[in-house]
């Protein structure tokens, strides 16, 4: 059972605004889908390792500076004196 409160909390954790109507619809759908995902409970896999690729430490990136070819700040629209404008921390 996934409640409306839980879905509201999920939307908050993910910073998404939902209308009341959306909350209704999504709660039903999320519940359905989570129900389906619970089929994972059918199997117990104590001794199986989770899938994870690995790589030798020497194959990672060398510590050499590469200058960025363009001014990456060009994608930012909310800029002031080259700072990125963001909402205030309150």
């Amino acid at each position: 059972m996934v409640s409306k409160e839980e879905v509201k909390h999920l939307a908050w954790l993910a910073r998404m605004e939902l209308t009341d109507k959306e909350l209704e619809v999504y709660t039903k759908q999320v519940e359905q889908i989570i129900s389906y995902l619970n089929t994972l409970d059918k199997i117990s896999l104590q001794d199986t390792k989770p899938l994870k690729t690995a790589m030798d430490y020497a194959k990672f990136r060398e510590d050499d500076i590469v200058e960025s070819k363009e001014d990456t700040l060009n994608v930012v629209k909310n800029a002031k004196d080259r700072f990125v404008k963001a909402p205030k921390m309150v």
Binding site: A54, M55, A58, D63, T72, A79, A86, K88, M89
Partner: protein, 472 residues
């Protein structure tokens, strides 16, 4: 009342050339805002993190030096939360809740005959910086500079083994010296080493304190928090387990606006970075490459140069001071004198933050000064005066001595001339001196006065006695 104190230290790997996950320069200080960024560290869509392998080496070196275990495989995790200084709204870090994946764990450090256990050592990325136009309260928005975003940090978490705020200071001094000697971090750079603390009084709940700006602030914060928790207890209430903010201006800890305890970081393994296989070779290679560390260096100073434990300790607490001393000892063999000049006199002129690098003086200066005093070319008092000058001007002591006409008179003939004149002027004193020891000092005083302090007092005294002996 018993207290348990633990530390969470963040150390930037300032010696790396590039950031942790991209090839931008790691040297972000004093650069125009958002000029040290690239698509990767700005988190543009479609970019992927590229792990800096030297960062792995440096972090492993730190683990080794803190006597920690290093896993054969390390992995990275995502810590998910929203904040404007985080370009991706998650931080790539390490996490040990499901399995040990961090660079180091289960270590121990000895300091001042005490021990502190190290819980874990991990690599993670620094966020950007928030800046405000005017004040935080009146500003309509925040300004963000991502130059620092992605710089490599090593987080060192201790067990709550500290029982006294003074011990925290001693440990931090040792840690700083270790980091300097390892060559992984220039601890004098602003913000390169930060420390959060946690305090729990008399077995009560643990309180974390963040936003501590310096090590001296850390000590103050701990002392304040201890007394705050004590008074909470005296009022019959229970200390809440929470995160508090250190306010250095008001010297208090205050409740945090962001409730750490309510955050759900939804940690999961970073899919874009494969787990790192270390193999045995890396630790062996690094152990061989390890530079001389503070403890070993201190022992060598005591044995090779005959320094006292205390003097050696002062030197190694600051790697630059120790380097300065070694260079000086190479230039002039009376190492003890060189060391004494450094720790007694020179240190007094150094800035708390920049240390000896803020002065224009070089080891050659001290070597010459020590030599001149040893050879009685100048008196110790004069030397101290000269030091005051050369610290600012960077001139050689001999130059300054010339200028001041301060070179000690050790020329016998010259001294005899002066003594003769004094004897002529103070005939009654001379008569008195033949009976009375003390009057000899009076005569010596006169000689010193008339040479403006430049006479070699030992030699002058010797000559005075000789002359007196010849009179009788």
């Amino acid at each position: 009342m018993s207290v348990k104190i633990g530390l969470e230290i963040h150390c930037q790997l300032t010696s790396l050339r590039t950031k942790l996950f991209c090839s931008c320069s790691a040297d972000y200080r004093d650069k125009g805002p958002n000029t040290n960024v690239c698509p990767i560290c700005l988190g543009l869509p479609g970019t992927l993190p590229l792990l800096n392998r030297k960062a792995l080496e440096y972090a492993t070196m730190i683990s080794i030096v803190l006597n920690s275990k290093t896993p054969s495989t390390a992995a990275f995790y995502r810590k998910n939360y929203f904040y404007p200084d985080l370009p991706k709204n998650f931080q790539i870090t390490q996490y040990n809740a499901h399995e040990i994946t961090s660079i180091g764990f289960d270590g121990v450090v000895e300091y001042d005959s005490k021990k502190v256990r190290i819980r874990r050592i991990q690599l993670e990325e620094d966020p950007g910086r928030l800046v405000y136009e005017g004040s935080m309260e009146t500003s309509l928005y925040t300004l963000v500079d991502y130059n620092r975003a992605g710089v490599a940090l090593v987080e060192i978490v201790t067990e709550p083994d500290f029982e006294d705020p003074k011990d925290v200071r001693l440990f931090l001094n040792k840690l700083v010296s270790i980091l300097e000697h390892l060559g992984v971090c220039d601890t004098k750079l602003e913000g390169s080493v930060r420390c959060d603390v946690n305090v729990s009084l008399a077995g009560g709940r643990k309180v974390e304190i963040k936003n501590i700006g310096s090590f001296s602030e850390a000590e103050k914060a701990i002392i304040f928090e201890m007394s705050r928790q004590k008074s909470v207890g005296m009022k019959g209430m229970e200390v809440k387990s929470e995160t508090r903010h250190w306010d250095d201006a008001r010297r208090v800890t205050i409740q945090s606006r962001v409730k750490e305890e309510e955050q759900d970081y939804r940690y999961f393994p970073e899919p874009d970075i494969p787990a790192v296989n270390f193999g045995h070779e890396l630790t062996e290679i690094l152990k061989k490459r390890m530079p001389e560390l503070p403890d070993a260096r201190k022992a060598r100073f005591v044995e090779k140069f005959g320094l006292s434990e205390q003097v050696a300790q002062v030197l190694i607490n600051d790697k630059y001071l120790a380097d300065f001393f070694e260079e000086g000892a190479e230039l002039y063999e009376n190492a003890r004198e060189v060391a004494n000049w450094i720790v007694t006199d020179l240190k007094g002129y150094t800035d708390e933050f920049d240390g000896i690098r803020s002065l224009r003086i070089k080891p050659l200066h001290i070597a010459e000064l020590a030599k001149m005093v040893d050879q009685s070319v100048i008196s110790r008092t004069t030397a101290k005066q000269i030091l005051q000058e050369i610290v600012k001007s960077g001139e050689m002591p001999s130059q300054v001595a010339e200028k001041l006409n301060a070179v000690q008179i050790s020329d016998e003939k010259a001294l005899i001339d002066v003594i003769d004149r004094v004897f002529d002027a103070e005939k009654s004193a001379v008569k008195d001196a033949l009976q009375n020891e003390n009057t000899i000092n009076f005569l010596l005083g006169n000689v010193m006065q008339s040479t403006k302090g430049r006479a070699d007092p030992k030699l002058a005294l010797e000559l005075i006695r000789k002359k007196l002996a010849s009179i009788t």
